[in-house]
């Protein structure tokens, strides 16, 4: 299961805030003003540099126009529409992000945030903002990074390595089913991938809010991409802030690819893996047989 840890810098920040005579909002606002001038309030995507402040002026226009209503002026996820949204908008002050290429518990890369903005987050109120120019998106990434103290003291994690995708074979699909059983994906996602496992109804995010497991049988897009490599990355990095852990410590790369192939058989789309599963007569596992 995913091991979670709270960075010491974050702990120190929290303690400082709690001990401060000023209110949390005031301190955060003041700190964010300082962080706006820090080197961390920039982003680097390829040869593109995004800035939260240009010529002394905050580059806040796009955030204010498009993002503020949900994420709030202070980036704390308390925009005016937040009370009516489910799932709730991301709290940028915590700098905990689902979609990363980096190990669980670490900060995402600038590219991760850059891609998330354009891709959107399916089954949430976050649409694909792929209408921005690349520069606008890079500036937004820089802007987002000035909200949290974590960017001041931590560096993004090192992206995980994803080995080349092997050929899908009957043996791999079958092995993937074994992995599915062994690491107990079915507990949340259900034996048929219908998000109806025994734990599904009890799931909560890190802030104690109910959260749904992904329903493979519905066939919606994954939150963090659509390709096999994206799927591999999702369960190897975990979705931070949610009950979806990282399996990086539990799965070898080959096993991870096996699991990818098996998960594809649970989706309603035609795929080679699904065709193989049909030929094999692969049946959903019985959770009672594998045990909780």
């Amino acid at each position: 299961m995913r091991t979670k840890f709270l960075p010491s810098s974050l702990l120190i920040s929290i303690v400082a805030v709690l001990l401060s005579p000023a209110s949390l909002a005031q301190v955060t606002e003041y700190q964010q003003e300082q962080w706006l001038n820090s080197p961390a309030a920039t982003s680097h995507i390829g040869n593109l540099t995004g800035r939260a402040k240009v010529a002394g002026n905050p580059v806040s226009g796009d955030y204010r126009r498009y993002c503020l209503v949900c994420h709030g002026e202070l980036g704390d996820g308390n925009g005016e529409s937040a009370p009516w949204l489910d799932p709730k908008p991301r709290d940028f002050t915590l700098a905990i992000f689902k979609c990363r290429s980096t190990p669980t518990g670490t900060l995402p890369t600038d590219e991760d945030l850059f891609d998330t903005i354009a891709r959107g987050l399916d089954r949430s109120n976050m649409p694909p903002w792929n209408t921005f120019t690349r520069q606008e998106r890079a500036d937004l990434v820089a802007w987002i990074k000035h909200f949290s103290p974590r960017w001041q003291t931590e560096k993004p994690g090192t992206p995980i390595q994803i080995p080349p995708e092997p050929e899908v074979t009957p043996e791999r699909v079958k092995a993937g089913e074994d992995v599915f059983n062994r690491v107990q994906c079915w507990k949340c996602h259900g034996v048929e991938g219908k998000a109806n496992g025994p734990s599904a109804s009890t799931l909560q995010d890190d802030l104690g809010r109910p959260i749904l497991a992904y329903n493979f049988a519905e066939g919606g897009r994954f939150k963090c991409g659509t390709t096999d490599a994206d799927l591999y990355r999702i369960f190897m990095t975990g979705l931070d802030g949610t009950p979806m852990p990282s399996f990086a410590d539990n799965l070898k790369p080959d096993e991870a690819w096996d699991l990818v192939f098996y998960l594809r058989t649970l989706q309603p789309f035609p795929s080679k893996a699904k065709e193989i599963a049909k030929q094999l007569g692969l049946k959903p596992v019985n959770p009672n047989a594998t045990g909780p």
Binding site: V69, S81, D122, N125, P127, T131, T133, Q135, G220
Partner: protein, 484 residues
């Protein structure tokens, strides 16, 4: 001090706002139907500014939302995800004050209580007024099936259907194929239904409705909503777009009165380019190619509605450009080359006179030209032809405050009748406006609107000799444009 908050809150501080408010609050108005739905904002919890450069004009994201069938494409677009009590309806209306001044109006002169002749003079009137009322309802019936219904009234509450359409979105799982049918706005990138100005002449794009003097082809008005079927496609990020529409040549009038036997095609294509800090630039083109009846069967000399034959053709084509110079300034450009068959130029075409949907037409149908068998065109008749350009710059101080300018000119390049002055019907118009939204939420919208329009047209004043009498019309308007 917290400079960012100052930046965010610039409109709410200092002496600028009171001055501006004073300026704007006395101004504003709205006379044309326009599309803007807080119902969408309420559904998705987004502010007006997410989809509108300034309400009601769409920005790029809003255009993509519309092109996706009023869907964010986040798998939460279907009604099943909404609270059962949610109903996507919005009304819009505008009370306003305006001053209208029309030059060279022919008026009777009196002596001793009797009409003794006519004179030409300027008429100026001022007062409070009211726009029509629009009820917008639109959204999704199911994932990838969308709709829009817009009953619209004039200021006396006489309703008609401005828009009624259903659309199948993302057919075969691709955004390149969407099909809608009904009555809808043509795919004008610079949408007249989302125009930012509201005066009688400035609240429309002259280029979208131009008809040469004496011409009776009402069917080539690309600014009017039309009845038909449209196939539309776009790339996932909406950079590339196309539409192809098959329309009844009825100018949107229902009942198969004029368009029973004729059709028009409308085609657009555009491509957007990422230009970094400048923004996303878009260039494209459009073409309308159609035909419409010029001969209607008659009963006792009166044309029979729906009996139109003797189709003659017409076309319009032009360039569209949307150029952005950073986050605050943009210029929208539309050009048009128009051509009508000579029969239209001689007054044939709309013989059944539905008056383009405008009630109260007084011309007797039997007196309208009808291309009955044996009819010949006057010698030397030519196809009326014209060229026009529309340039509309915007300065967007913030999503809440926008300044609008517009220059339009249309020049006849060929008149239908030999000997007609070459400039007859030429139009030049300027519009300046400002819209300030005192608040911006995901619930409702309001704009304090001020606008001035000046329009000049050659030769359409009362004639009193060989010299053309030109008309200058101006309008100043201040209003409260709101919707909920």
């Amino acid at each position: 001090m917290y400079t960012r908050r100052r930046c965010f809150g610039a409109l709410n501080s200092g002496g600028f706002l009171p001055t501006l408010l004073l300026l704007v609050i006395v101004s504003v108005g709205a006379t044309r139907p326009a599309h803007a739905l807080p119902a969408f904002a309420r559904k998705y919890g987004l502010r007006c500014s997410a989809c509108h450069e300034s309400w009601p004009m769409l920005n790029y994201f809003g255009q993509k939302f519309k092109d996706n069938g009023y869907q964010l494409m986040n798998d939460r677009d279907a009604p099943i995800w909404q609270n059962p009590s949610y109903w996507p309806v919005t009304f819009r209306i505008t009370p306003y004050w305006h001053r209208v001044s029309t030059g060279k109006v022919s008026v009777d002169t009196y002596s001793g209580g009797s009409v003794t002749g006519t004179a030409v003079q300027r008429i100026t009137s001022t007062g409070f007024d009211l726009s029509g009322l629009d009820f917008h309802t639109g959204g999704t019936l199911e994932k990838n099936i969308s709709f829009y219904v817009l009953p619209s009234s004039d200021s006396t509450a006489t309703f008609h259907f401005e828009t009624v359409m259903a659309r199948f979105d993302n057919l075969f799982g691709t955004p390149w194929l969407n099909v809608k049918a009904g009555k809808f706005e043509l795919d004008n990138l610079l949408s007249e239904k989302r125009i930012l100005t509201l005066t009688a002449n400035g609240g429309v794009y002259q280029l979208y409705h131009f008809i040469p003097v004496g011409d009776n082809n009402i069917f080539g008005q690309i600014g009017d909503n039309q009845l038909g079927l449209e196939v539309m496609g776009h790339s996932a990020n909406d950079r590339t777009r196309y539409t192809a529409a098959l329309l009844s040549s009825s100018d949107g009038n229902v009942g198969l009165v004029t368009g029973a036997n004729s059709y028009t095609g409308f085609f657009t294509a555009s491509q957007a380019f990422d230009t970094g800090k400048w923004g996303v630039q878009r260039v494209g083109g459009y073409a309308m190619v159609g035909e419409a009846a010029t001969y209607y069967l008659t009963t006792a000399g009166v044309p029979i509605p729906g009996s139109g034959i003797g189709n003659k053709n017409f076309h319009r084509e032009g360039f569209v450009g949307q150029f952005y110079f950073g986050p605050h300034f943009d210029v929208q450009v539309v050009t048009q080359h128009g051509w009508d068959n000579a029969w239209f130029g001689q007054g044939y075409g709309n013989a059944v006179n539905p008056s383009n949907g405008t009630p109260g037409a007084t011309t007797p149908q039997s007196s309208l030209p009808n291309n009955t068998p044996g009819m010949v065109l006057p010698a030397g008749s030519k196809a009326p032809t014209w060229n026009g350009v529309l340039v509309e710059p915007h300065y967007v101080y913030s999503p809440q405050l926008i300044f609008i300018g517009r220059f339009e000119t249309i020049r006849m390049s060929q008149q239908a009748t030999p000997g007609t002055p070459s400039n007859l019907g030429n139009i030049t118009t300027y519009t300046l406006g400002c819209r300030y939204n005192p608040f911006m939420t995901s619930r409702a919208g309001m704009a304090l609107h001020s606008e001035y329009n000046w329009l000049h047209q050659d030769g359409t004043g009362p004639t009193s000799g060989p010299v053309l009498v030109n008309i200058n019309t101006s309008e100043l308007l201040f209003g409260l444009d709101f919707d909920f």
